[in-house]
């Protein structure tokens, strides 16, 4: 059965290419970039194959070494991680295409190890997503985390400190997570998710399981930067190289959100996470706080990337809010928002990187006249920003719509207010930029007699950077227009049936 091997290849190809890049790059530096692209492209094809197989033949199970679970390690791909895989590998591919010029400018002497680690990061994230074994998640989580620490640390001046804080927080998160595994293991004796979901219901009142669940939740919350455990996130996103921000922001937190869904609703039965302990309720309130706090903090920033980072915190709030609402509409909105937000944030960070590349700055107050200089870049920025605000027909609107529906279904009026207010706050901080970018530079005032403006020459990004940005922006719109198709064919089945 060849189709099953896609599930493995999607991880192994980037992983092996990471070794190959490191080796080959030693002799031929130019080879890194095409090799990376090729690996990610194969990965992307595999993800499509996987999703296709999942849709046509159902869940894929792959047993490593032929050892049947729970003794061996198993890869399980169903609708939930099937669509995550496509998203991850696609964004990784697009960002990789973009990366060439930006990296050559920002860290020219480190291209070889950069690409190698880039691939390891992608492999790690994909590995977390495909696996059906709790401990295997931890291993790949560490691969991804170490890669992320390094990718952040090579950024500009504040980066090493940001990376160090990230290491400390990230390690706490990861350790809590594998301590959680220990707590679950000690009372069940298994590490396989499917096996555990069978074993755990008898132990739902066991204190070890309760604490284990709490440890999972806190650990993942730290890793995904959920408010108020987000302290590592803004600095890391701000000081990291542009490409790093553009790959970590849309992917890492989303994978953690996926893991949260997986643990809440697959490893544990929804009835445990929702009814037995009030964890989902607590999470919704925490998330609501994160949405408001993130949005307000974003307004206070003048650094584009830092603003985007705070906006990420707010958006993680959306995703967790949807998970916490724990009904069909809410979770649909949440999963859709994972997808949409990955595209929007990807676009925004690519644009931020593009501005950085061309102008060498990202201070919002200096953006005047950018639309003339880089019309396409600012056009894509506008599209993504509108999506963040939630203007139809972009994707962001629909995920918000489902989240609102979910809040209505849960009869949680406070959250509806939070969602609506936050989209206004989003409007405040994004329109501030759009306004700046579309206005003329302040030096030449407007005059009724047709005062002449200083001519700003068009100076667009090189195509290798522009096209990926455009692709992601187009994705933002397409995801919005075809959201019903995505829900009807994929997300509908990814939501637990008991909802």
């Amino acid at each position: 059965m060849t189709y099953e091997h896609f599930a493995v290849l999607i991880v192994i190809v980037p992983l092996m290419s990471a070794f190959a890049v490191a080796l080959l790059g030693w002799f031929k530096r130019w080879a890194c970039y095409p090799l990376t692209l090729a690996a990610l492209f194969v990965s992307f094809i595999c993800s499509l194959g996987i999703l296709n197989t999942v849709i046509s033949k159902g869940t894929i199970h792959y047993h490593f070494g032929g050892w049947e679970p729970p003794w061996g390690i198993e890869y399980v791909v169903d609708y939930l991680n099937g669509f995550m895989l496509v998203m991850l590998s696609f964004i990784a591919l697009v960002v990789a295409i973009y990366s060439k010029r930006s990296i050559e400018q920002e860290i020219p002497e480190k291209i070889v190890p950069y690409y190698s680690i880039f691939l390891l990061l992608v492999a790690g994230l994909i590995g977390i997503t495909v696996t059906g074994d709790l401990f295997n998640v931890f291993v790949f989580l560490e691969i991804a985390s170490l890669a992320a620490y390094a990718l952040i640390a090579v950024g500009e001046d504040g980066a090493p400190m940001a990376a160090f804080n990230y290491v400390i927080m990230g390690t706490v998160g990861a350790c809590f997570y594998y301590l959680g595994i220990g707590y679950v293991y000690i009372v069940t004796g298994s590490l396989n998710m499917a096996d555990l979901s069978q074993l755990l219901p008898n132990l739902y009142h066991n204190k070890a399981v309760l604490v284990g669940f709490a440890l999972f939740t806190v650990g993942i919350a730290v890793k995904m930067g959920l408010f108020p455990l987000h302290v590592w996130l803004p600095d890391s996103y701000t000081y990291a190289p542009s490409v790093t921000s553009a790959v970590i922001a849309p992917m890492f937190t989303k994978v953690m959100a996926y893991l949260m869904v997986r643990i809440f609703f697959t490893l544990f039965k929804p009835y445990f996470s929702i009814d037995l302990i009030p964890i989902t309720q607590i999470l919704t309130w925490v998330a609501a706080g994160g949405i408001i706090a993130g949005s307000i903090l974003a307004i206070a920033q003048t650094d584009l990337k830092r603003m985007l980072a705070y906006s990420s915190i707010a958006n993680i709030g959306y995703i967790v809010l949807g998970i916490g609402l724990a009904n069909r509409m809410g979770l649909t909105g949440s999963l859709l928002h994972i997808l949409n937000h990955a595209f929007m944030k990807g676009t925004l960070f690519l644009v931020a990187g593009g501005i950085m590349y061309k102008m060498g700055m990202r201070d919002i107050t200096q953006f005047r006249g950018l639309h003339k200089k880089m019309p396409f870049t600012m056009g894509t920025f506008t599209i993504a920003a509108l999506s963040m605000i939630g203007i139809p027909p972009t994707g962001g609107f629909f995920s918000k719509f489902y989240l609102v529906l979910g809040a209505i279904d849960a009869r949680q009026w406070a959250f509806i207010v939070v969602l609506l207010i936050s989209s206004l706050l989003n409007a405040v901080y994004f329109f501030r930029i759009i306004e700046n970018a579309y206005l003329e530079p302040p030096v030449t005032a407007y005059a009724t007699d047709g005062g002449t403006h200083e001519e700003i020459k068009r100076d667009e990004l090189p195509l290798s950077m522009l096209i990926p940005t455009l692709i992601l922006a187009a994705g933002v719109v397409l995801l919005g227009i075809f959201n019903e198709r995505i829900i009807a064919f994929i997300i509908r089945f990814a939501v637990p049936a008991s909802f």
Partner: protein, 97 residues
């Protein structure tokens, strides 16, 4: 900061102690962790994996994929150090890892 740290630590500690209440006693041979998956490894190690050392057979065979991940972690750490610390070559000088 100190107070905050102490508070966090105490809360975590209380939570962990609370969870430990339902743990099996130390060294209990029949604790759930030892009776569900592990016996197969003990009994099958030589027949299925060909070595009397159970840890070896689990590391390298039953859960060999984890071990591959583990080596990748080391590789990642190595590459990370190269990425972070390698300086531009000064003339003919060796790279400074």
């Amino acid at each position: 900061m100190k107070v905050f740290a102490l508070l966090t630590v105490i809360i975590t500690g209380v939570m962990l102690v609370y969870g430990a209440e339902d743990f099996p006693k130390w060294g209990d041979p029949n604790q759930p962790g030892s009776v569900h998956v592990a016996p197969r490894y003990t009994q099958g190690t030589y027949i299925e994996a060909g070595t009397p050392n159970i840890v070896t057979s689990v590391v390298a065979d039953y859960r060999g994929y984890d071990t591959m991940g583990e080596t990748t972690v080391i590789f990642t750490a190595g590459m990370a150090c190269i990425l972070m610390l390698r300086k531009k070559k000064r003339g003919e000088g060796e790279s400074n890892v």
